[in-house]
């Protein structure tokens, strides 16, 4: 790849400072794709052309970094983020913040994510630990380096996919394309860039930590859901199925009849608390995932 294209991308990145990291990544991918293709075709048409001169014209028609950056920033302001579709916000919570959680679409996304995270956590953890230990074990063999490279690339791919899931269900803006690597580095240089990149390792750390976090999210959510549902269903359990609250040897303990309305109300209260917990965890997790999975802008 061309030095001038790299220079342009660096300038574009600087001009995009302050924009969302994911937007920066999209803008860099678009620019890299366009400039490389344009240069290729210009050189194909006029083989004798100097690359530098051709790129000058190409960049002129593509737009100065500041102009292009402004276009992306403008579009970012106009485009609603995932799940914030105008039609879905009709049930905007009014006044009452406690019940407002029921009308917030992200609550249910978070709930889904909490339940899903155990499955993805197991997969990520297995993939990361297997990959790391095999890479370490094979490093003395010839296939060690290609294997390590493939594993590190797979971790970045998984980070991108996890980002898409998080944007879809938790609503946090995440990258839509992979990060760009300079292409003039060659095989060995590219490998060094991959190993030296902080996001490669933070993505692997994320995959490992996802197992304990997934277990925690899943357990907390499932316990709270089960508890609130059983409280809500308490009268039916008591009077229809004759199911006691505590059973020890031959003694069965039932709650007194007058407490039933309180228990059911308590169940509904706990259900709403559960939704708050899920949404809160979802927000925290989205912020944490962005720190580990997305390359920081300068």
């Amino acid at each position: 790849m061309n030095r001038a294209i790299d220079d342009y991308l660096v300038k574009l990145k600087t001009a995009l400072a302050g924009a969302d990291n994911a937007t920066i990544q999209d803008a860099l991918s678009d620019a890299e794709e366009h400039l490389t293709t344009a240069l290729e075709q210009a050189l194909a048409q006029e083989p004798g052309l100097a690359a530098e001169a051709a790129l000058g014209t190409i960049i002129e028609t593509y737009g100065a970094p500041a102009e292009v950056a402004a276009a992306y920033k403008e579009m970012e302001n106009m485009t609603p983020t995932a799940l914030a579709i105008p039609g879905l916000r009709i049930t905007r919570p009014r006044g009452n913040r406690f019940f407002g959680v029921l009308g917030d679409i992200r609550t249910y996304g978070s709930l889904l994510y909490m339940l899903l995270s155990l499955a993805t956590g197991i997969f990520y953890f297995t993939w990361a630990t297997t990959g790391l230990s095999l890479s370490a074990g094979l490093i003395i063999l010839i296939i060690g380096l290609p294997f390590t490279a493939a594993f590190l690339l797979s971790a970045r791919g998984i980070a991108l996919i996890e980002g898409r899931i998080i944007e879809g269900v938790l609503g946090e803006r995440m990258p839509r394309r992979g990060t760009f690597f300079r292409r003039d580095l060659g095989w060995w240089g590219g490998f060094k860039a991959l190993v030296g990149d902080r996001t490669t390792w933070s993505a692997i750390l994320y995959m490992i930590l996802q197992l304990p976090l997934g277990i925690l999210y899943f357990t907390v959510t499932i316990t709270l859901i089960a508890l609130s549902l059983s409280l809500i269903a308490m009268p039916i359990l008591h009077y229809v199925f004759n199911f006691p609250i505590v059973q020890m040897e031959h003694h069965a303990y039932y709650l007194p009849g007058w407490s039933m309305p309180l228990v059911v109300m308590g169940g509904f209260f706990l259900a709403i608390v559960t939704l708050h917990v899920a949404r809160g965890l979802g927000r925290l997790h989205a912020r944490y995932a962005k720190k580990l999975l997305v390359k920081e802008g300068k």
Binding site: S29, H34, T37, V68, T79
Partner: protein, 122 residues
Amino acid sequence: MNPTRAEDRKFQKELNAGTAALVLLSVVSRASEPMYGYQIAKLIDAGSEDVPMMKQGALYPVLRSLEKTGLLESTVEPSVTGPPRRYYRIAEEGRAALDRWTAIWNENKGFVDSVLKGIYHE
């Protein structure tokens, strides 16, 4: 005509920003195969020699925004020589939107034309 005065450039830029989505939607809808950004930019440049369209770099965020609202669909395919390319094709919703937008554009054009001809003062 290439505007040199600052206020002319501003007017041109605002006009382009307003019509870019319609132009891109139409270009992509007429293509028989999915197109990537550079092809689209080239095609628009070829057809707009007299009219300075917006910078090519400003087309990409519009493409992404159209994709995000479901009017375009895209797939990424690896290319032999460079970074992977994103190919855009029109979605069903996009065709419907294009019809509606074309109607809006024609109404608007008709209105502006008639104002410019001065029929309101007869």
